[in-house]
């Protein structure tokens, strides 16, 4: 089943300087997709166009049967609950506790009033603890987030996204600020989420080897255009050179 259908989208901030040009991409439910490409290629922009954190200049996006471009503000919010987002810098409210941050993921389902007063149901709280347990964070539930390590913060970020019961996770360089062992933990969790919970993951990555190891499909982006769209095993030196340019690719193959 096609969950996300991106057709011919373009984005430019200034005239004649396209950041994304004519991008099309169909994503299956449960698929694990990595987007790689040099800095400034438009990876973050593309990810934010999908949930309309950034408005596209032209093209169409259909997600889970709805035309994202036609949504009004209210319905856009409703649809965003089905899309979780994970960030390089975790984007947690650092002065609040882990459990409070996880429950923030439920705000989209609540009225303003309920949300502001933190009127969460018993089962929502139970689900929050359950997710923390699954991610190995149960013992830290009442810690303030500024006391956690990077890898722990990212796991809180994942729990916050999962409690939305999303169909799609957008991950913008989730391991770019982490050491190798924390990176592995995070990537393993994401992979597990996609295979066991059948949640689609689109992950921006800087490391080609990580992308090859975890992805069902890899998208190569260069200067706002898709230059590669295929299986990890077909991503060879020539393709990498096309994505990153000759000099950088030489370094990467070592």
């Amino acid at each position: 089943m096609v969950l996300l259908q991106v057709d011919h989208i373009s984005k430019h901030y200034e005239k004649d300087k396209p950041v994304l040009s004519d991008i099309s991409l169909h994503v299956q439910q449960g698929e694990f997709i990595s987007i790689i490409g040099p800095s400034g290629a438009g990876k973050s922009t593309f990810l934010r166009c999908i949930n309309r954190m950034i408005d596209i200049s032209s093209g169409e996006i259909h997600f889970d049967g709805t035309n994202m471009m036609a949504l009004n503000k209210r319905n856009l919010r409703k649809n965003r609950t089905k899309i979780g987002m994970i960030f390089q810098h975790y984007n947690l409210v650092s002065r609040l506790t882990v459990i409070e941050n996880v429950l923030h993921g439920r705000l989209g389902y609540k009225s303003t009033f309920q949300g502001v007063l933190s009127l969460f149901k018993e089962e929502e709280k139970r689900e929050a603890f359950h997710l923390l347990e699954k991610l190995g964070m149960a013992e830290h539930a009442y810690k303030r987030c500024d006391q956690l390590s990077g890898g722990q913060k990212q796991r809180v970020g994942i729990a916050r996204a999962l409690i939305q019961s999303p169909k799609l996770l957008l991950c913008d360089e989730p391991i770019a600020s982490l050491d190798p062992s924390s990176s592995k933990i995070i990537m393993d969790h994401l992979k597990e989420i996609s295979t066991e919970m059948n949640i689609t993951c689109i992950v921006n990555l800087h490391q080609v080897d990580v992308a090859k190891k975890y992805s069902d499909r890899i998208i190569g982006l260069n200067a706002g255009e898709i230059v590669y769209n295929g299986a990890p095993k077909d991503l060879l030196e020539r393709e990498i050179r096309e994505i990153y340019g000759a000099n950088a690719a030489h370094l990467m193959m070592k």
Binding site: R80, M85, N91, L92, S94, R95, H104, L107, K110, V116
Partner: protein, 261 residues
């Protein structure tokens, strides 16, 4: 190449220093400020201060009424600062890049803040004097407006610096604007904002003395009164008590800051 750069930096520095000296001499002659003369008068000034500015027993009798006015001044500055802080929060939310509603209001809020901030408090007091006359309300509004402008600017920076990430995350999860403000912006920024408010309370106790001279209220009025009557002992008493209160407030707010930050 590095030494070349170093040399040109040094040359720039020399030119800059020379320019500074020229500007200083020019402005001294423009304002008829005579450096030599002012140094020569220094000893005389000190003798005057020592012989005139001390506290006599007679002056101490005025202490209760001084304290009265001082408390009035402290409360005036606390009230004006806290009300300005609450109003500034709303404008800062509109003005911050992270929480702006649209570009028009963001620009408007920044312009308003900048205008209010750049009108000196003395000018506010004089302007308001015309419409409200000599009373405590004039002092209150003068302090309020200048504080408001400053705090909007400070709060905008606080919001932009500390909460743009969490705001983005909550937006992406479908939270409403007020949920985002109450659940991300306020918890993240409140301590820093409280710290700014405390700082402004300190500043405003000092400013309100000056404003009081103009508007005829509070400790400033008292200072003015005894100064014009040449009762310098009481003037000294007033000055000293202001200093003590300001230091006291500073100590308290430092303590509060340590606890909340």
């Amino acid at each position: 190449m590095i030494t070349g750069e170093y040399r040109s930096n040094k040359k720039q520095l020399t030119i800059f220093l020379l320019l500074l000296i020229v500007v200083m001499l020019a402005s001294a002659s423009f304002t008829e400020f005579n450096f030599i003369y002012s140094i020569q008068t220094l000893p005389k000034a000190f003798t005057w201060i020592i012989s005139n500015l001390f506290i006599t027993e007679q002056a101490l009798e005025k202490l209760p009424s001084v304290m009265d006015k001082l408390i009035e001044t402290v409360f005036l500055s606390i009230t004006s600062t806290t009300t300005a802080g609450v109003s500034a929060l709303f404008l800062a939310l509109l003005g911050s890049e992270a929480t702006k509603v649209n570009d028009f209001f963001a620009k408007l809020s920044r312009v308003i803040a900048s205008v209010y901030r750049n009108i000196p408090i003395v000018a506010w007091a004089l302007i308001l004097l015309l419409s409200f006359g000599q009373n405590a309300l004039t002092g209150y509004f003068a302090l309020f407006l200048a504080t408001f402008g400053f705090l909007v600017r400070a709060f905008i920076e606080t919001i932009d610096e500390t909460s743009s990430g969490s705001v983005e995350a909550l937006q992406a999860s479908g939270a409403t604007y007020f949920q985002i403000v109450m659940k991300a912006v306020i918890p993240e920024c409140l301590p820093q904002m409280m710290s700014w408010i405390l700082y402004m309370i300190e500043t405003n106790i000092r400013s309100s003395t000056l404003v009081g001279i103009l508007t005829g209220t509070g400790i400033g009025f008292m200072f003015d009164l005894y100064y014009k009557n040449m009762n310098y002992e009481v003037v000294t008493l007033i000055t000293l008590s202001i200093v003590i209160v300001v230091i006291g407030i500073e100590l308290i707010s430092n303590y509060v800051r340590r606890v909340i930050l």
